[in-house]
């Protein structure tokens, strides 16, 4: 029995809910040698910045238990090179592309959105709010609902109406629900969570921080419970806003967990470093799990864990009584 895996990001239909997470798929070409990128829901680019960025010094990455700590610093080619080289490459192959953008000021985000506005091949725009706000002493936008809302409103105002704007949220905030609500109110068509929480590791041989940047973003299965909690809370508060869930998804079971918490799309990130072709495996495993639970449509299981305890899940054909 095949499962209808189609899902929606705002009004945009994706063939299936598995996408790559921002900054984990290179420019796309690197992964294309391992699997057909057209078979996943969408590819998310690294966060595109206005100018080229060299990123942070090395070491940039260290392994932690069931996790990775990274301080790459948004190394990237800048929007000009992205528009002339990377996006056309993806567009020519009809690969659904979520473009992630990062900026230091509200104006920079808006300028990026303006540059991407007429570019063919942009399926959705994901706004990486975990960037330091130059105008606020380097505090990241995502910490604060008002700062996040300002960015989202500016981007939404500029971006053409048929491209959904997705706000990427960080768990490093006092109340992720209030940031989520502020973003949704100011025009975000969808929310994605979670960006890497900040962590730190110290090399006990050199007795210095393991990363050149000192602190870094933690990813991998170590943060999955944090991701499930954030998706759960935001889904409970804002049941009508589509959520891209991410955080340590290694298997179809992990993706299913985020879907049960309320995500309609699931992004795979760190798993790609371990297994470059993991997206298709996760998609297959997810489909098998959904089918094994007796469902024919992915849409029927999204947020299913929110049903009251004891309530039978609707649409379950195997124990649904006949209406006759």
């Amino acid at each position: 029995m095949s499962v209808d895996m189609r899902t929606y990001l705002g009004h945009v239909e994706l063939a299936n809910p598995i996408v790559t997470a921002a900054g984990c798929a290179g420019s796309g070409a690197e992964l294309a040698q391992f699997f057909d990128l057209g078979r996943i829901g969408a590819l998310t680019t690294r966060s595109i910045t206005m100018a080229p960025r060299a990123g942070r010094p090395t070491p940039r990455m260290t392994e932690t238990p069931s996790g990775l700590l990274n301080g790459v610093g948004l190394q990237g080619p800048g929007v000009d090179a992205f528009l002339t080289r990377e996006l056309p490459w993806l567009a020519q192959r009809n690969i659904r592309t979520v473009v992630s953008i990062g900026g230091g000021t509200v104006a920079e985000y808006a300028a990026l959105a303006r540059r991407l506005n007429d570019a063919p091949g942009v399926t959705a725009l994901e706004v990486n709010l975990s960037c330091p706000n130059i105008e606020d002493r380097g505090r990241v936008f995502a910490r604060d609902g008002a700062a996040s809302a300002e960015v989202i409103a500016a981007v939404r105002a500029v971006m053409r109406y048929d491209v959904p704007v997705v706000a990427k949220l960080s768990p490093d905030t006092a109340d992720i629900v209030s940031v989520a609500r502020a973003c949704a109110t100011s025009g975000a068509d969808a929310l994605s969570m979670i960006n890497n929480p900040l962590g730190m590791s110290i090399d006990t041989e050199t007795m210095l921080p393991a990363l050149a940047a000192g602190t870094g973003g933690l990813s991998g299965p170590a943060i999955r419970p944090l991701a499930v909690r954030c998706v759960w809370q935001v889904r409970a508060a804002l049941p009508d806003v589509p959520i891209i869930g991410m955080g340590g998804v290694l298997t179809g079971r992990d993706a299913f967990e985020l879907i049960l918490a309320g995500a309609c799309v699931v992004a795979v990130g760190t798993a790609l470093f371990h297994d470059p072709s993991s997206c298709l495996r996760i998609l297959r495993e997810l489909e098998e799990i959904v089918a094994a639970r007796g469902y024919q449509r992915l849409a029927d299981v999204i947020g299913l864990a929110h049903r009251p305890p004891g309530a039978t899940a609707r649409h379950r054909t195997d124990f649904e009584e006949s209406s006759l």
């Binding site: 690197e30 960025r53 060299a54 990123g55 392994e63 104006a107 470093f273 297994d275």
Partner: protein, 277 residues
């Protein structure tokens, strides 16, 4: 997996991997998942391919030193265990069209990847000389094989337990002068590559280096293994050792700036192009 053997201070694993063996070119590496199916170690370990043989449809051998829980796990694997490999990865060595004289410089287990290069060079009629070294005798890899295949082999150890006392780069100028070398191929720790490049520049001959930069994915998506390299246009970029390398022209690598973002690198913080909209 076929065999595992201990070679002095190092471990060598031979794995049946026909597709990797088939696509192999000298200089390629592979990414090995460690810790088994439910591992908590998420990054692959990258190792240069030491040897490729046609047995069993194609085998590859790689050499490593135990320096952490991942490599310790790998050292505990036995024949008939399965390993999760990705490869061949990276850009291989460019080989000269003409029969020239080549000096192969290998430090520690970096030597392991030079033998397939030397084979390929000899097949093209090149003269090959080896300079191998390590901290002590048990850390010099492949001395026997080098002696069998090369015109001359010079060994160095820092403690003097084998060959000349010192580093490979201490004897390199003499070897280059003696054999009238046309090109140098080097593999080993970054410091060795830096010194070897300085020597080659002194003699005004080209040098190809295979860098050992810490990697996480090995396929070009994680942006971990970057180092500053000068491009054809004279611009320094932070390039990935795993896909733009691991083989570079030595004089293009800014060894003194490895571990930093040089101020004049493309996209460096505070650089002229930042925040221009």
């Amino acid at each position: 997996m076929l065999t595992t053997r201990q070679v002095d201070a190092y471990h060598a694993l031979t794995v049946v991997a026909p597709r990797i063996a088939e696509g192999f070119r000298p200089g390629h590496f592979l990414g090995v998942a460690v810790g088994g199916p439910h591992t908590s170690m998420l990054t692959r370990r990258a190792f240069f391919i030491h040897d490729v043989k046609p047995d069993y449809g194609g085998t590859v051998e790689f050499v490593f030193a135990v320096d952490g829980p991942g490599t310790a796990w790998l050292a505990g694997r036995r024949a008939r265990d399965t390993l999760d490999l990705v490869g061949p990865l990276g850009r291989p060595f460019p080989l000269p069209r003409d029969p020239v004289t080549c000096v192969m410089v290998g430090d520690e287990y970096g030597s392991a990847m030079l033998f397939t290069v030397a084979d390929a060079l000899q097949r093209r009629g090149c003269r090959v000389d080896f300079v191998l070294g390590g901290a002590s005798a048990d850390r010099v890899f492949g001395a026997m094989r080098a002696r069998r295949m090369a015109e001359t082999t010079t060994l160095t150890t820092e403690d003097g337990s084998l060959g000349m006392r010192g580093r490979v780069t201490d004897v390199l100028p003499g070897v280059i002068a003696d054999v009238r070398a046309d090109v140098v191929y080097a593999s080993g720790p970054m410091e060795t590559l830096r010194r070897a490049t300085a020597v080659a520049v002194e003699f005004d001959i080209p040098i190809q280096v295979a860098v050992e930069e810490r990697m996480a994915c090995g396929i070009g998506v994680c942006m971990t293994c970057v180092l500053p390299v000068i491009g054809d246009d004279g611009v320094t970029r932070m390039v990935r050792a795993c896909v733009e390398g691991p083989v570079f022209r030595g004089e293009r690598v800014r060894f003194d700036d490895v571990g930093t973002i040089p101020f004049d690198a493309l996209g460096a913080p505070g650089g002229g192009s930042r925040n221009v909209s």
